[in-house]
Symmetry: C2
Subunit: 188 residues, 2 copies
Amino acid sequence: MRQSKRTQILDAAFRVVQRAGVRAVTFESVAAESGLTKGGLLYHFPSREALLEAMHGHMAQRWEEELEGAVGGAAGEVSARERSAAYAAVTARSSTRAELLLMLEGANEPAMCAPWHGVLERWAPAPVSAEPSRRELEAFVHRLAADGLWLYESLAERPLDPRVRRRVAEYLAAASAEGPEEDEDGDA
Amino acid sequence: MRQSKRTQILDAAFRVVQRAGVRAVTFESVAAESGLTKGGLLYHFPSREALLEAMHGHMAQRWEEELEGAVGGAAGEVSARERSAAYAAVTARSSTRAELLLMLEGANEPAMCAPWHGVLERWAPAPVSAEPSRRELEAFVHRLAADGLWLYESLAERPLDPRVRRRVAEYLAAASAEGPEEDEDGDA
DNA sequence: CAAACTGTACCGGATGGAAGGTACAGTTTG
DNA sequence: CAAACTGTACCTTCCATCCGGTACAGTTTG
């Protein structure tokens, strides 16, 4: 068997989104970007919908892998605080506008967003209780700030000054580390 | 002169984006949503591009008005802290997925994003210095958290529990208020 | 005052091209 | 061999855009 170029196609599709938005994802544009032909794409993805769905799945999978790499294990094996810190760190360093666009555009269709809803639920869930503790609240606010940074870099004309960016990252990391350790294992 | 339905059209276009994304903004869909016809839309907006551009401008204008309403004056007339608090408050209460989608999709074209880049620059700018003070850093982090909340509510399958949401808003508001007042006027 | 005129706001259908999707016969490569 | 493609041709739907025409408010002019 020849080596499949499936992931190569998906990566090309992400570049198209990054450059020109989800709307620009057509069989023709992705074929040109990936160096394959329209027929070749259709071999892997029978429809545009299927291609977009695969992009969501691919994104979620890479995301989970990066998070697991950051903590050195699966989500269920580490504490809530470690997961939270890993989320902030990973989000701060490897979030792209393409991912944001894809997620927002697919947020209405369950088949699209199910994969990354899982990731978010495992690694950076919203407070479970309606009356969260100060610790839970701060953890959530820091998750939101990490997401805000992601958004910022996707919208700004120029990227944030790297030194400011590092100070923000440090601030969020320090905040997740301070205070006494609560005993809490992962399988909630 | 008859009363123009221009803003009515723009509002309808936002509803289309909210429901089905930027891609779904066609003359037909917006015509149906607004109760006018394709020809009527074309009278106001000579092209699809022009319609999208007008949406960006309209959004920025309403945004600025809400911010000015929150502080009771123009951006140049109040302190940096007031602007920052107003930004968090307004963002937390009246941010929609449609706005986010529109901004992200138009972030590459200067003609689209110029209006709201102005709003952001006036009301919630990133730290000017590469070595920001702790105060500046925290203000920026809280802006990011407000944006993160915006993103959260645009992506989640269910809206955040209102009580949690209020606690987050209170947390951000309290954080912007504490500490000694620095003397700083608006016209930087 | 009223007929004539002007310009804005809007209707509704026609058109042409771009893009999704189908079909299938040939080619490369592990 | 068989999976993984290439390449071409074609159909169909959708959608941006164009444009001739209608309704009507306001203004001019006799």
